[in-house]
């Protein structure tokens, strides 16, 4: 990943180079690159005068951060209690089977990353799966494939347009 120092610098400046804004700065970087690139963290460490090891500590403590690049689409399967009793784990297994990866990983073609989330707090419509920003309500084992196809197709369509 080609990290633009200017960009990271602008995030740091936005919070007046304050050490207490470390989490906020990392959130900006995560939002920009979809993960925390190593170069960006080294730069933040130098600018904020926080040892890199402490930054890695924060980055690995909170689930919002990732040190690995993510795929084009992120599939998040809700693991909340309500989704759990309604069959959430089976939905996750089906995604793992279809994508041939375990949760927390990205497919080789970099199309999909599969993650779990503690609870999306929309328990009435569980089991819930969120792909990118789109909520899929009351999912079942059977429509896992349909959901994936929808995003695979989009990919193809985009290619055609280009």
């Amino acid at each position: 990943m080609n990290v633009q120092t200017d960009k990271v610098k602008s995030f740091i400046n936005k919070y007046n180079c304050k050490q207490s804004a470390l989490i906020a700065i990392l959130q900006e970087i995560q939002a920009e690159y979809n993960y925390l690139p190593k170069n960006a963290l080294i730069y933040v460490s130098q600018q904020l005068h926080i040892p890199l090891i402490d930054i890695i500590g924060v980055a690995t403590f909170y689930s919002a951060f990732s040190l690995e690049p993510k795929g084009e689409h992120t599939v998040k399967v809700c693991m909340g209690t309500a989704c759990h009793v309604r069959g959430g784990p089976k939905i996750l297994e089906e995604f793992e089977r279809r994508l041939e990866i375990e949760s927390g990983h990205t497919t080789d073609d970099k199309q999909f990353s599969l993650d779990t989330v503690a609870c999306l707090e929309c328990c009435a419509i569980g089991p819930v799966v969120v792909v990118d920003e789109n909520y899929h309500a009351q999912t079942s084992i059977r429509n896992v494939d349909t959901i994936l196809k929808k995003y695979r197709k989009k990919e193809k369509k985009n290619e055609e347009h280009q």
């Binding site: 470390l22 500590g57 089976k90 503690a118 609870c119 707090e121 009435a124 569980g126």
Partner: protein, 621 residues
Amino acid sequence: MKNTNKSKSLDQIKKIIKEQKQARKEDDKITLTVSSGTCGQARGSMEVIDSLKETIEQKQLEDKVRVKVTGCHGFCEAEPNIIFQPDNIFYQHVKPKHSKDIIEKTALNKEILDQLLYTDPSTNEKAKKDEDISFYTKQERLVLGDNVLIDPTDINDYFSIGGYNSLLKTLETLNPEQVINTVKSSGIRGRGGAGFPTGIKWEFTRKAKSDEKYIICNADEGDPGAYMDRSLMEGNPHRVLEGMIIGAYAIGANQGFIYIRDEYPLALKNITLAIQQAKEFGLLGQNILDTGFGLEINIVKGAGAFVCGEETALIASVEGKVGEPKQRPPFPAVKGLWKKPTNINNVETWGNIPLIIEKGADWYSQIGTKDSKGTKIFSLVGKINNTGLVEVPMGITLREIIFDIGGGIPEGKKFKAVQTGGPSGGCLPAEKLDLPIDYESLTEAGSIMGSGGMIVMDENTCMVDVAKYFLNFLRDESCGKCLSCREGTQRMWEIVNKITEGNGKKGDIELLEELAYAVKDASMCGLGQTAANPVLSTLRYFRDEYEAHVVDKKCPAGVCKDLIRYIIIEDKCTGCMACIKPCPEDAITGELKKVHTLDENKCIRCGACYEACKFDAIKIE
């Protein structure tokens, strides 16, 4: 209800509130309020709103009908739903195709569309208005109720229901001690988990000597299955702000923070906008309404860690550090954020404050039980007919919530347990259904109030699996500081996992119990101290289910994969072939109209066939 005269003095705000209230009173437009919180939107409320607006525009009815995008109406099962004002007609599961009829028939001609009405599953009767629906009748929606009335992105709409009147009353007629005394005698206790008396907490921080003090709103709602804070922030953010401003005035804080969960984009958007609007009207800032009292509120986004719901961990996170709890005392009221006195309350607690100031401590303390006052919002989810957010007076029984408001268990299944309090709580069985709910009764029964999650479980829920689920959550979320919690949750999970895999041995249950008490006794913060509750409560009420797993190697609920098998019932199988395609392992074979066969050696027990069969011809054994 537009108002462009931004004002900064107390009298001017008073005038604006009066005008807005009058405008609401005189308003003769029919208003369609569309429930559009996060889960409403996930179910397509935005499409409904667009199509309603389009219809109004096409028919040029702008002066007669308006669409109002509101926060969650609480009845999540019925999303997307519309409540008509002033008539309170309630339409559920609305789709864009209904727009024309909704506008032309109902809004203009008061004709009811039968197919959009809610039908009571027990009586089969249709309900016309929200108050006729059993889900709403037993509730007392004192805090959440205003969600239906207002556009959360418009401060004027909040003014029009008397919003910020409590703040004006506070600034005009009460000194800080009087505010604290009111909150103390109201009897309100923290709605976030432990239930500490709010007024006493405020008093501690007020009395602490320091040049600077802080208040924090804990909106890092991390309990799986609880979403009342999100709903309040999305649907009525000014109410939370108003509570915070009153609190800051009483405590003597000039700086406030809202620590909000990263996964709540809509709540973040609405609260950010609310802060901006409050500033424009002089309700926040250096010199609030010319009274000399100042408060700035900043937003801090959480980054996803359950332990940050704990006060000292939350403070560490606001400071930009790893969210590890610290030993108390010193309590945050003495030494909190940046070592200054800090008062932390949860969203729902702040949301109760304007009500207490408006109606008075005496009125408020009439609601509820001896030691638990006011209402509590619960999120009623899981195996329940009427999923949603319910606000009820303390002291109501579990049975009333689950069966009267919640409409009982779907598909005629049997109630097995209700889990309250999230990962720190426990599972209560059928014999506890008549328990009046308050902080003490829940604790005595082996659970806790927590933030108000209420997950209903039926006969198909395995209680050992539920314990495993929470342990898995907790071993992941344990910050790792205390050995007892870090290793204890891991080891408890290993034992329970072994049991669900059919490898449980004699003595495992006893070992699990012993370990659970050790984790409870030896951990420093609330997470570790309560981490054993899911295990201890399931052991207390459902020990036979553990024993069935260990001794008989059976999962009575049919959940634990290694202990069950799927079987095709020959008499019921019609040979429709519906189960063959979904099977990922090609374990099912058969021809059309002939009984299919399932190869158990190939079967991975994913349940795809079970889900696909329309004839109940596949059973779990």
